[in-house]
């Protein structure tokens, strides 16, 4: 690890000041950042430890929703009684990720900001536009099994690897952010960015901005499912995942909020999927139509071509599971 200055941030304002510099990063659980610092993928000169700033609570909001502190751990969140009863898709998504030891340390804010698992990104001897702008993308013509099929650019085809944010996207949650210019709230669906020509910019956070919390809307009910397809049944990142909140009324879809993991540089939410399903009775033909819409612009890069049919089947399986055997 490169030497760095370590500072325990005494206040949120001070944390913003400390992380405003180009060479500075916040550290929360450290489970992603320290891993990357050991590999010298991340080489901050200044680390601002935000762990004791106090925003670790999980508390009800005035409109019946729930506010998850950015420093609450993934475990605190997944086992919280209200998350379990009112937002089961979120508990399920968190529990499907990493291991108990990691989830016990990982924070909600750090989880949102975790970086891609692209092998070229994590190996400093390889070309990678995200790590070293202009050096090229090793994955486009290389090992790309984990990589994206939607929203890619000719600069980068990496995925956002997390599970939690996929459920947050389906739930329509918002990220609370505090910085030198004040506070703002950004929908999770808009928090992560596509790679475009600037793959090193992964989310909307500006220098010095700190995530303080995640706000869940009032409970929506419905049947909530997180289905994660991976190479082994535990302790592996998603190849494809689906977070689904589904409700039927009079035999027709009355709610269909779906988000997808493993497909893109961000949790993938396409409003056209819900529009296609709403008001329609479930059928195999309808599920195929939803998959056609989702995958309209999908593109494989050789090793990850399998993700296109896998996504179609996973979507189909989730919808069939919720609606009985219409498939």
């Amino acid at each position: 690890m490169r030497p760095f200055q370590y500072t325990r941030a005494p206040s949120l304002t001070e944390a913003s000041n400390l992380t405003a510099g180009e060479d500075a990063l916040a550290i929360a659980g450290g489970t992603n950042l320290l891993d990357l610092m050991k590999l010298q993928v991340e080489t901050p000169g200044q680390l601002a430890d935000i762990n004791r700033l106090g925003f670790a609570d999980i508390e009800a909001t005035d409109d019946g929703g729930l506010r998850l502190g950015a420093l609450a751990t993934n475990t605190d969140t997944a086992v919280h009684p209200r998350v379990r009863s009112d937002y089961p898709v979120l508990s399920r998504a968190i529990l499907a990720g990493a291991t108990q030891q990691l989830r016990n340390k990982a924070t909600n804010g750090g989880n949102l900001c975790q970086r891609t698992r692209c092998f070229y990104f994590t190996n400093i001897d390889q070309p990678c536009n995200k790590r070293e702008p202009g050096s090229g993308c090793g994955a486009i013509d290389g090992i790309a099994k984990l990589h994206a099929i939607l929203g890619t650019s000719n600069q980068c085809i990496a995925t956002y690897p997390g599970d939690m944010a996929v459920a947050l996207s389906a739930l329509g949650a918002a990220v609370e952010i505090s910085g030198e210019k004040g506070e703002r709230s950004v929908p999770v669906r808009d928090f992560h960015l596509l790679p475009g020509d600037t793959p090193w910019i992964e989310n909307v956070l500006e220098a010095g901005e700190i995530i303080t919390g995640i706000v869940l809307p009032a409970p929506v009910g419905g049947t909530q499912i997180y289905r994660k397809v991976r190479e082994r049944s535990s302790y592996a990142f998603a190849l494809v995942s689906v977070a689904a909140i589904i409700e039927l009324a009079d035999g027709k879809f009355s709610r269909a909020d779906l988000a997808f993991g493993g497909l893109a540089h961000k949790p993938w939410f396409d409003p056209r999927i819900g529009e296609c399903l709403l008001g329609q009775p479930p059928s195999a033909a309808l599920f195929e139509k939803a998959a056609d819409i989702l995958l309209e612009d999908a593109r494989g890069y050789g090793e990850n071509d399998f993700k296109i049919p896998l996504t179609r089947r996973t979507l189909h399986a989730v919808l069939a599971q919720v609606t009985g055997d219409a498939a």
């Binding site: 370590y6 550290i27 450290g30 320290l34 891993d35 379990r84 016990n104 340390k105």
Partner: protein, 169 residues
């Protein structure tokens, strides 16, 4: 602000170099080599210790972030003369071959029993609410962060299942 880390009941000064991981602090600074380094990247669980009652990977955290915390390592869990119930069960069931992963397995399982007692659900749990039914499947999922290169898994699960079931009766 305390400038010590308490390990198995004894306070030690926080190291000066902020780069020192909690794992290296335990092994190299205070000589507690029971905790093992397998991968140093959060992938194997050999470095699992219990901090303030919660199991974590000591390789992916800085010692400097733990002033005032209370750490339990394998040395604090039992001794050859006075082993914990899990340590005895690992012996009885042959829950190891080379033994390298064992301190991590036992620290991990020790904290896992508390998680089960608190009815924290896992990915393998049928329901997110209510009592967790102890099963081989639950234990395998909850212990998936501890790899064993020797593949002693069947006996590890048997040892843990015995202690977990005993705690329930």
């Amino acid at each position: 602000m305390a400038d010590t880390i308490t390990v198995n009941g004894t306070a030690h000064p926080v190291p000066e170099d902020p780069r020192v991981s909690l794992l290296d602090f335990l092994r190299h600074h205070i000589g507690l080599t029971g905790t093992k380094k397998g991968c140093d990247h959060g992938q194997c669980g050999a470095c699992t210790v219990i901090v303030n009652g919660i199991r974590i990977n000591s390789c992916l955290t800085l010692a400097a972030m733990h002033d005032g915390d209370s750490v339990t390592t394998i040395e604090g869990i039992g001794t050859p003369d006075d082993p914990s119930a899990l340590q005895r069960a690992f012996l009885e069931h042959d829950g190891f071959q080379c033994g390298y992963c064992t301190p991590g397995q036992i620290c991990s399982a020790t904290a896992m029993l508390e998680e089960l007692a608190a009815d924290w659900p896992s990915d393998a749990s049928e329901s997110l609410e209510g009592r967790i039914a102890i099963s081989g499947e639950e234990i395998r999922e909850r212990m998936s962060g501890n790899l064993c290169r020797c593949g002693a898994y069947a006996n590890i699960v048997a040892a843990i299942e015995e202690v977990a079931a005993g705690g329930r009766s």
